[in-house]
C-alpha cells in the first residue's frame, strides 16, 4: 500500500541534462568549483544552512529558511524538477544556488545563498545558474525575484530584467521579473565567467565531500541586536542585554 | 525656445565665472550680484569622461555617462554624455535637457553628444 501511495505523492522528474561543472578564480586568487549536488549530499548542506536561520541581517534568515525547505523537499522527493548547485573553495562550501524547471521552455530561479562574503561568490553563482538554464536546459526564459535589496540592485538593474508582474512568483507570490534568452546573451560576455573542464584534482577534491564553511555569517552577539538597533537608537537596551549574557551583576 | 546654462561676467572687470561666485575672483571689488548673465557656448571638446555604474538612489538607469568639456570660450563644465565611445579631445555639442528627476521637481543641465 505504502509503495502505491509514494507513487502518487512523489513527483515525476522531467529529464534534465546534468550540470557540467566549471571553475574560476576569485579576487583572492582562490579557485572555486561549481558543480551539481547529489541527493545524498543534501543532509550535509542542511547542516550548514541551519545556523543561518538565526542570522537576522541582510535577509539571511528569510533566504536560509526557504532554502532549507527547498533542499529538504528535494531530498524527500516532494519537489519537482529542482536542481541544486554547490560552489566550493578547496572543498569548502562557499555558496548554494538552486532553481527548477517549470516546463521545457521556462525556468524558475529559486535562491542564491552565499557563505563567503566580500568576494562576489554570489554573483558568480547566480550567473552559473542562469547559464545552466539557457545553455544546458534549453529554457527561453527564467523567472526571478529578489528578497534582498542587494540582490535587486545586482540582478534587476544590472541585467535589465523584464517585468512579468502578472506572474506571481512562488516565493510568496511577489511580482516576477524575467531574464530572457536575448537579455542573457547580451549580458553573457560581462557576467558569465568560468572555465571548463575543471582540472581533475580540483574536481576530485570538490566531489569527495562538501566541507563546512570556515567563516559563515553568524548571528550577532545579542540575538536581537539587528532589530533592536532600529528601535533603540541609544543602544542602551542592547548593552544591558549583553551584560546579562556576560553574567555581570550589580554587586559591589 | 532652447534653454541655456548661464555664466556670470563681472561688471567691473569682465572676469567670467561658471558656476556663480558671490565675490568676483578677478577683482574682488564687485557689489552684490554685480554680474551680467551670459549664455555658455554649447560646442566644445571632451577633456575627460567616465561611465558610472554605481549610481545614487534617484537614478533608475544602469549606467550614466559623465564628462568634463572645455567649451569654445575656454571655460569648462561638467555634463552628462550621450556618447557611445567617448574619447579625450573629441568635439561635442550640448543641449540643455533634464538631467535629474526628483519627486515634484526636474533639474536641467547640459547633455553632450558627439559633434
Amino acid at each position: 500500500m505504502s509503495v502505491d501511495l509514494e507513487k502518487i505523492l512523489r513527483p515525476v522528474d522531467s529529464p534534465m541534462e546534468p550540470y557540467e561543472p566549471k571553475y574560476m578564480l576569485l579576487a583572492s586568487g582562490e579557485a572555486v568549483v561549481v558543480r551539481e549536488v547529489d541527493r545524498d549530499e543534501i543532509p550535509d548542506l542542511l547542516k550548514y544552512v541551519e545556523p543561518l536561520l538565526h542570522v537576522e541581517r541582510d535577509y539571511y534568515d528569510v533566504v536560509a529558511s526557504r532554502v532549507y525547505a527547498e533542499l529538504l523537499g528535494h531530498y524527500q522527493y516532494r519537489f519537482q524538477d529542482q536542481y541544486v548547485l554547490a560552489v566550493q573553495i578547496d572543498g569548502e562550501l562557499a555558496a548554494i544556488v538552486n532553481g527548477r524547471q517549470v516546463n521545457p521552455k521556462l525556468g524558475l530561479s529559486l535562491h542564491t545563498l552565499a557563505f563567503r562574503r566580500g568576494l562576489r561568490v554570489g554573483a558568480h553563482a547566480f550567473a552559473a545558474k542562469m547559464e545552466y538554464h539557457f545553455d544546458q536546459l534549453g529554457h527561453d526564459e527564467v523567472l526571478i525575484v529578489a528578497e534582498s535589496p542587494i540582490g535587486f540592485r545586482r540582478w534587476m538593474i544590472e541585467y535589465k530584467l523584464e517585468k512579468r508582474f502578472e506572474v506571481p512568483h512562488e516565493l510568496g507570490g511577489v511580482p516576477s521579473w524575467a531574464l530572457t534568452r536575448e537579455l542573457f546573451d547580451r549580458a553573457r560576455s560581462s557576467l558569465v565567467v568560468g572555465r571548463r573542464p575543471v582540472p581533475p584534482e580540483l574536481l576530485e577534491k570538490a566531489q569527495a565531500a562538501i566541507l563546512p564553511p570556515s567563516d559563515p555569517p553568524t548571528p550577532a552577539l545579542d540575538p536581537l541586536a539587528a532589530t533592536r538597533a532600529k528601535y533603540d537608537p541609544t543602544a542602551t537596551a542592547l548593552m544591558i542585554e549583553r551584560w546579562e549574557m556576560e553574567g555581570r551583576s550589580e554587586d559591589a | 525656445m532652447a534653454r541655456e546654462i548661464y555664466a556670470y561676467r563681472c561688471r567691473l572687470c569682465d572676469t567670467m565665472h561658471y558656476p556663480f561666485r558671490m565675490v568676483c575672483s578677478g577683482c574682488k571689488q564687485n557689489d552684490f550680484f554685480e554680474f551680467d548673465t551670459v549664455p555658455l557656448p554649447k560646442a566644445g571638446k571632451l577633456l575627460t569622461f567616465t561611465k558610472v555604474y554605481n549610481l545614487p538612489a534617484q537614478y533608475e538607469v544602469a549606467t550614466l555617462g559623465l564628462g568634463i568639456v572645455e567649451l569654445e570660450n575656454g571655460m569648462r563644465m561638467l555634463g552628462q554624455l550621450d556618447i557611445d565611445e567617448p574619447a579625450i579631445g573629441m568635439p561635442v555639442q550640448g543641449t540643455v535637457e533634464i538631467v535629474r528627476e526628483e519627486p515634484y521637481e526636474n533639474f536641467y543641465g547640459m547633455v553632450f553628444r558627439a559633434a
Binding site: M24, L25, L26, A27, S28, G29, E30, G118, L119, R120, A123, H124, A127, P149, R153, S190, L191, V193, G194, R195, A220, A225, A226, A229, P233, T234, A235, L238 | Y18, P19, F20, L47, T48, F49, T50, K51, V52, Y53, N54, L55, P56, A57, Q58, Y59, L64, L66, G67, I68, R76, M77, L78, G79, Q80, I88, V99, R100, F107, G109
Partner: protein, 391 residues
Amino acid sequence: MRDVYVAGIGITTFTRLEYALSEIASYASMMALKDAGVTEVDDVYVANMGGARVNHQTALASAVVDSLSLTPAGAAAIENGPASGGSAIKAGFQAVASGMDDIVLVAGAERMREVNNLEATDFVATLTHPIAEYIYGVTLPAHAAMFARLYMDKYGVTERHLAMVGVKNQNAALNNEWAHLQQEITLEGILDSPEAMTNNPYVAEPLRFFDACPVSDGGAALILVSKEKAQELGRPLIRISGVGQATDTHAVFEREDPTDLLAVRKAAADAFAMAGLTPEDVDVAELHDAFTILEIAESEEVGFFPKGEGHIALEKGETALGGKIPINVGGGLKGRGHPVGATGIAQAWEIVTQLRGDGGTRQVEDAKVGFTCNFGGFGNNVVCLTFVRED
C-alpha cells in the same frame, strides 16, 4: 604658540556597527581617555559628516560630551566633508597651542551603514557643487574616475598600477585587527584571470570595485595636551609638529590643471614648513586612498616623488612596508575602511601607534617622523599633519 602632544588614542573596529552614532564616537573617546589616563578635558571636538542627513543626529558633540560625563567642558561638532577628522585635529591643536586649553578630546565617527549603499553614495555626493555638479548625478567615484583617466593619459598610469595599490593596501589591512577588510586579494584574481571582470567590475570607468574603499562605520579619538600635561601623565611624547590646510575651487572642472591637486601640495608644504621638515624626513605616511589613484597622485603632490612618477615608485615597492616611504601600512582607507568623519583621526591614530612602536606586524622600523594627508571634497579642502617622536 605652545607645543601640542598626543597623550591618548582610541579606535573602534571599522566594520558594520549596530550602535548609534554617538555611541560609536563615545566608545572610541572612552578608549582614548583611558589611554591618556584622564577623566576631565577642557574642550571636545567631534568630527562627523553625515550625522544630520543619514543618522538624524545633529549637535553630535553635545551628545558625546554628556555620554562621557565630561560636562561642563566645551564641545563642538566639526563638519568638513571627508576632511572633518583633520579639521577637528586642527581645531584641537589650535586650542592647546594658543594656551586656551590644556587637555582636548578630538574624536571622529561615522555610521554610514544606517542607510543602504545607494543612499550612502548620494549622501557623499552632496559635497559636490549643487548646481554645476550634483544635479548631473556625479558621485565621488565618478570624479575620481575622470581624474584617473586624465592621469592615465598624461603620465602613463595603468589599470594595473591602480590594482597594485588596491592589493598592497587591502592585504596590509590583514596586519591591522581594527581594519574593515580582512580578505586577501591577488592581482591575478582582480586583474589577470578571465574571471577578473566579474570579480572586479567597473564602478566608474576606469575605476573598478577594488579601486574604491568600502563603506564603513567606525570611530577614532585622540587626546591632545600641552607639554606639561604630557609629562605629568607620563605618556610617550608624540608631538604634532606641523599643521597645514589649503582649499581649491569647489567645482572640479574649475581647477587650474585637472591633473593637479594644488590643495594637497600647499597643505603639505605648509605643514612641513611649520615643522621645519622636508618630505625626505618622513618615516611613515598615511595618505587618503579613498580611491587607489589618489594614493599615487598624493604621494607626488606631498613631495615624496616627482610629479608623474608615483606609479613608478609603487612598481619598485618603495611605498610598501620595508620600502623607502611606507604608505598606508595599516590598510589605508582601502583596507581599514572609510567612516568619513573618523578617517582623519584614524590616520593620526595609526601614525601615533607607529611612533610609539606599537605597530606589531606592521611596525615601520624605528619610525620617528609621521605624516598624514586628509583629503576633503574632491581635493578642494585638504589638511596635512606631521608628527614627531620625542624620546
